[in-house]
Every structure is written in C-alpha cells, then in structure tokens.
C-alpha cells in the first residue's frame, strides 16, 4: 500500500519537451513509472522518446487515460498549467516548478477549492512510492521499497538526506512526499499525516519541516487529535536570522512567528520524537520504528 501514488498511476508531463521536462521524464520512465503522455502547446502530434505529445491536457487525458500530471512549466506560465490540469480531469497534480508568484498561487489555491483533484507542491521534489512509481525529481536509488515509514517534507535535498539515512539503517519507505517550500502550496502536512495514518502498511511517519509559517504547528494539533502512529520530526533553520528568506520563498521568520524553536516545542508537546541533530536522524528512527 502507499498514498496518493500507486500501480494505477498514469502520468502526463506538462512541459515535457523542455530541458528539465525531458531529463526528468526519462528518469521517471527508467524508474518504471508509466508516463503515458506529454503536453506542450504547439507541439501536439510529436513525441518525446516514445511518449506522445499533445497540445492540451484535455486531449492527453482523453487519448491516454492519464490521471496524474507532473508540471515542469516555467514560473510565469505555471499557474495556468496547474489550472489546466485541474480542468483537464486528472486526480493528482505534482507541480515541480520553483518561483511561481505568491499571488498566482493564491488564485490557484482558491480556484482548486471546489475541484476534487489534489495538488502537491509547487516548488517541490514530487512524490515517490519506492519500487512502484516516481513522480518527481528525487534520485530513485536512495529509496528502499516496501515501507514501513511514510516521509513528508517541505524540502528537496533535505528529504533525500533523510531518506538516505533511513535506507542506510535498513528502514524502507511506503511513500515519500515533498509538499514544497513555497508559502502557498496544495497538499499540506495534515493531508499527508491523515493519509499515512489511514494507510495500513505505514507504521511510522517522518515529518521534516523548516522555519516560516505555522504549518508544523497546525500539523501538531492534528497529530494530537488523530495520529496514533509514531512520528519523528525534524525542523531546519535553528540558526536562521529573522526577516531573511532562506532560499525557499516560504522559509522566513516574520517577527516572532515561524521560528524553529516554536515548531520544535509544538512537536515535543504532542509527543513527536524530535530529532535535534540531523546527523543522528537515522539512529533515532531505528530506535523509534
């Protein structure tokens, strides 16, 4: 079992003919992910390797039955691409694009409210169910299939570090989800915690947060109410100065809100096993799970 992505996932790639789109499509295909279509307006009828390219998401979905879109469209056009995917009828949208204006994402988020599809990202590495399908840019080989741990994170390479340490300790993953480093995103920690809690094969959860906003605090309130599985938590940015954006658009301490200390305190208060030192995360997980 897994969450959001499984053996029935059929992927279309928006922006498949761009440099990033091509490279990562090939990586996903090599991992065994069924990539059934690409979309690049104006290039319909062509193909990328063996993948047919369409002008619109609707056409791609109608012709191929794709149910998931992975988006590599550049920031100025990415909000449009997400809304097209939602309107085109896919169930899952994974937006990799970094640098989408906040105002665009706020419009997208409000637009998606009455739609049934799920958005992961933007500004994220994507989602992987090891051994089954990879919809994203993470390196496949560092993952270990078969579970039992679910991983959810706001970061990219930091997640790779976490997954690598789990794998080194012989701990596999059910699904790894990067929810992205932007201030306004689709799927949040709570959505992922709920899915992992309901997934029988996931017996433990690793949650990786960072400074900025209150998503981790909100997640902790949810953990207290609903999550019975053990959770290991890590927060990046203890040494980050206030008022500075630390690379991710969402990673900023504003006044006294969004600090790593507050997030760690919230985690401890609800019984999350807090990892204070990233170098020892694998060991902590081995003792908890």
């Amino acid at each position: 079992m897994s969450v959001f992505v499984d053996e029935n996932t059929k992927v279309l790639v928006q922006g498949i003919t761009g440099k990033e789109g091509q490279f990562h499509t090939r990586q996903c295909v090599a991992y065994g992910t069924p990539v059934v279509a690409g979309v690049t307006p104006g290039k319909g009828g062509q193909s990328m390797d063996d993948v047919p390219v369409f002008n619109t998401v609707k056409a791609a979905v109608n012709e191929t039955g794709a149910n998931c879109s992975m988006i590599f469209v550049p920031p100025p056009f990415a909000a449009d691409a997400i809304m097209e995917a939602a309107d085109g009828g896919v169930d899952l949208i994974v937006a990799i694009t970094e640098g989408i204006p906040v105002m665009d994402m706020m419009r997208v988020k409000n637009y998606l409210k009455d739609k049934s599809c799920r958005l992961i990202g933007p500004n994220c590495p994507g989602i992987i169910t090891p051994g089954v399908a990879k919809v994203g840019i993470m390196p496949g080989p560092i993952h270990k299939p078969g579970g039992p741990v679910g991983v959810v994170s706001r970061s990219g390479t930091l997640t790779y570090e976490v997954v690598h340490q789990l794998t080194m300790k012989g701990i596999g993953q059910t699904t790894g989800i990067g929810i992205g480093g932007d201030p306004v995103n689709g799927t949040n920690f709570i959505d992922c915690l709920e899915a992992f809690q309901n997934d029988p094969e996931t017996t433990g959860i690793v949650m990786v947060g960072e400074i900025g906003g209150s998503a981790e605090e909100d997640a902790c309130a949810y953990i207290k109410e609903k999550v019975t599985k053990p959770v290991v938590g890590f927060i990046a940015g203890l040494t980050a100065p206030p008022g500075r954006r630390m690379g991710h658009a969402g990673a900023i301490i504003s006044g006294s809100s969004g600090t790593a200390e507050a997030k760690l305190a919230a985690m401890k208060a609800v019984g999350v096993h807090v990892c204070e030192n990233l170098g020892a995360l694998g060991e902590l997980c081995a003792s908890v799970f």
């Binding site: 970061s155 990219g156 570090e161 960072e210 969402g250």
Partner: protein, 388 residues
C-alpha cells in the same frame, strides 16, 4: 524586494493614495530647495534606508526653518543609522525625504499582505497607529482589525466599510478613507506586493486621510512582470557579498555574526540544516549558500570565491546531496575554484547521491588537500575541529 519610502510614495501618488507634499534630496542644498517648495514650516527630514525604527535612531527630524533643514540634512546624510532592524552595524544614509508637516488629529495603522495559511489577502488596521504593530498584536490583539479578501473576487465595498467603521473614521473623512484603501489594494494586487504598510496613516484636523509613512515589499518571484519596480532596486542597501552572489544566481546570505565556517550546499532546506549542524558541532556558520539544483561548475566556483571573501571564514564545509546537481559537476567546480583561488583555509567535502563515485574520484585525483567526510555528522565534526 524592498524599496525606499520616497519610492513607495511615488507609487502611492500614481494610484491616488494621498501622501504629504515633498521630495527626495541627496545633499543638504537639495533638501533646502525641496523645503522651499513646500509652502511653510514645520518640515520633516527623514533618512531613507530599507529599515524601520528610523525615528528612534535619530534619522527623522522636525525642522522649523530652512537653517534647521540644512543642519538636519547635513547631520543625517552620511550618518550611520542604527535601528532595531539594521543590526548593531547600522546602515549608511545616502538620502533624505523632505516633507511638509501635517496637522495630525489621529494616527492609525494600515497594512495589506498575503496570508499563507488561508491563501487570501489580509487587510490589517488599528487605531493604535504609530506604534510597533507586533507589540500591539501581542499585548492587545483586540485592537487589530483583520479583513480577508478573496484574491479571485477582489476587494468589495463592504470590506472598505468594515475597516472604516472598525477604525471609527468620522463621517466627514469616510469617503477620503475608503477611496484611499481601495486604491491601496489596487496598487498591492497589481504589483504583486508581499507587504504594503502605512504606519502611521494620519487623520488630519481637516478630516483628510494621508499616508505619513509608506513601506512596500515586492514578491521577488513576480518581478519578471514588473520591470518598472526593478528600476527602484537600490544596491547600496544590499550586502556586497550578497550582491556579488546574485549576479551568478547564487542564493547567498551573509549571516553577519562573525561566523567562522563557510558552507556551500545544494537545496535550501539542506543548507539550513547544514548551518544548524555546524553550530551543533561547536562552530559558527558564516553564511547560507544554496547553489541550487541546476548549478554549473562555474556557479560552484563563484560560490567558493564569495565564501572565501568573508575574512571571518576559517574553514569551509561543502555538503552536496546529488539529485539534479550531479556530484561530478560539483567536484569539477570545486577543483577549478581551488586551483584558481588557492586553498587558504581547510575544506571538508561531503557528497552523496547521483554520480558520487565519479565526484569522489575527481576530488581524489586532483591532488588538492581536501578532507572528505563519510556522512553529515562526520563532516560537521571535522570542520569544527579544524577551526577550533
């Protein structure tokens, strides 16, 4: 991206948000010239830097004559202004805004910003104007009015009324206030602002509503569609190393605390975590540097050079988890940079992920004195021991 008060007020004027008469001056003579056009005294002389708390730091003065304008302008231009937002090192003032004094009846607070949790824009207003709004929010949250605006539907007249009645705006000033707020929202939305703040917004004895102060911050990700705002960028307000890094698309932040370990990492989250683990190992991180997912050998080389231009740096930790950025590309950049700049401080390299074997081979065969680490903890311990 932040801009100066005088620039924000130019935008306010374009959008019919009322501001005091005035203009910017780069010398005392220019300041006197501007003061002469304002039709009387008092006149306010305000330091223009990208930080708040200017009044308390001595950067805002009330002048009763042209002689006083000259004295204050001479005092402020060229001064090193220290406020709670500049840090102890302060900021050099290069220009002042000279404005007419107003007949203030009441000071209010007004701001608009995106709310990440609800994905709506939020208008915050308070009758406790002119004060530190964080302190007001902390001590007397009931004094702050919050109105949420759906970004798809935009601002409606009832939003304007809700704020106006909440602030007890007198009937005679109602129209002036709602017109100002509606214009301000239009400006905020049109230019992808991450903050528009007026503190204080003043109600004059003549029942006019005027923005006495103006603070604007723009979403850096949206500047591609606002070339006119890019023209407002003042590089004098930026850290010289950060400015240099931005030329190469490097995400570098000088932590400014005299840290002794420079670091170069791919990915923002891992970069923050690397700073943290350096501190936990007993050393002090000097910077944040995310070379990004698509870094080239040239970017790595420039990053290396920029880290080394910080004189406090006594050791460097390079931590790369290869994903999109391949370890062999990184290794080539490091070798090239080390050959060009020379290794003046010890360097610890920790690599994992895509093409790691090839990367390690390049480093080993370079003949350079680089220390390799087996994992993150090992890397942090090694670099901390080297700078101790």
């Amino acid at each position: 991206m932040k801009i100066h008060e005088y620039q924000a007020k130019e935008l306010f004027r374009q959008f019919n948000v009322k501001v005091p008469e005035g203009g910017v001056a780069f010398t005392a003579a220019e300041a006197c010239e501007v003061a002469g056009t304002l039709g009387g005294y008092p006149v306010v002389v305000k330091a223009q830097i990208h930080a708040g708390g200017r009044g308390k730091g001595g950067g805002v003065k009330l002048a009763q004559s042209v002689q006083e304008v000259e004295t204050y302008a001479n005092e402020i231009i060229g001064m090193n202004l220290v406020t709670h937002q500049t840090g102890p090192e302060g900021r050099r003032v290069g220009k002042v805004l000279v404005e007419q004094g107003l007949n203030i009846a009441k000071e209010l607070y007004l701001s608009i910003l995106p709310d990440r949790a609800t994905a709506k824009n939020i208008i915050m207003a308070s009758e406790a104007g002119g004060m530190d709004i964080e302190a007001v929010a902390e001590e007397t949250p009931e004094k702050i009015i919050k109105v949420f605006i759906d970004p798809l539907a935009g601002i409606q007249p009832y939003h304007l009324r809700e704020v106006a009645f909440g602030l007890n705006i007198p009937g005679a000033a109602m129209k002036s206030f709602t017109q100002l707020l509606s214009s301000l929202y239009r400006l905020f939305a049109q230019y992808d602002c991450s903050l528009v703040e007026i503190n204080p917004l003043v109600l004059t004895a003549e029942d006019e509503v005027i923005a006495l102060d103006a603070k604007m911050d723009f979403d850096g990700n949206a500047l591609f569609r606002h070339k006119d705002i890019m023209a407002y960028r003042d590089t004098d307000e930026e850290d010289p190393l950060e400015l240099e890094a931005s030329k190469y698309n490097l995400n570098y932040i000088n932590l400014g605390g005299g840290g002794n370990v420079g670091n170069m990492v791919n990915g923002a989250g891992l970069a923050m975590a690397t700073m943290d683990i350096i501190k936990q190992a007993g050393a002090e991180p000097a910077n944040f540097l995310d070379v990004g997912g698509g870094a080239s050998a040239e970017m790595v080389e420039n990053g290396f050079r920029i880290i080394l231009s910080d004189p406090n740096v006594k050791g460097i930790l390079i931590n790369i988890f290869g994903g999109i950025l391949r370890c062999d590309v990184l290794a080539e950049g490091v070798v090239e940079a080390a050959r060009k700049t020379g290794l003046s401080v010890p360097v610890v390299v920790r690599m994992e992920g895509t093409n790691v074997e090839e990367g390690r081979r390049i480093l080993a065969e370079s003949g350079l004195d680089l220390t390799t680490a087996v994992d993150l903890k090992d890397a942090a311990d090694k670099v901390a021991a080297m700078v101790a």
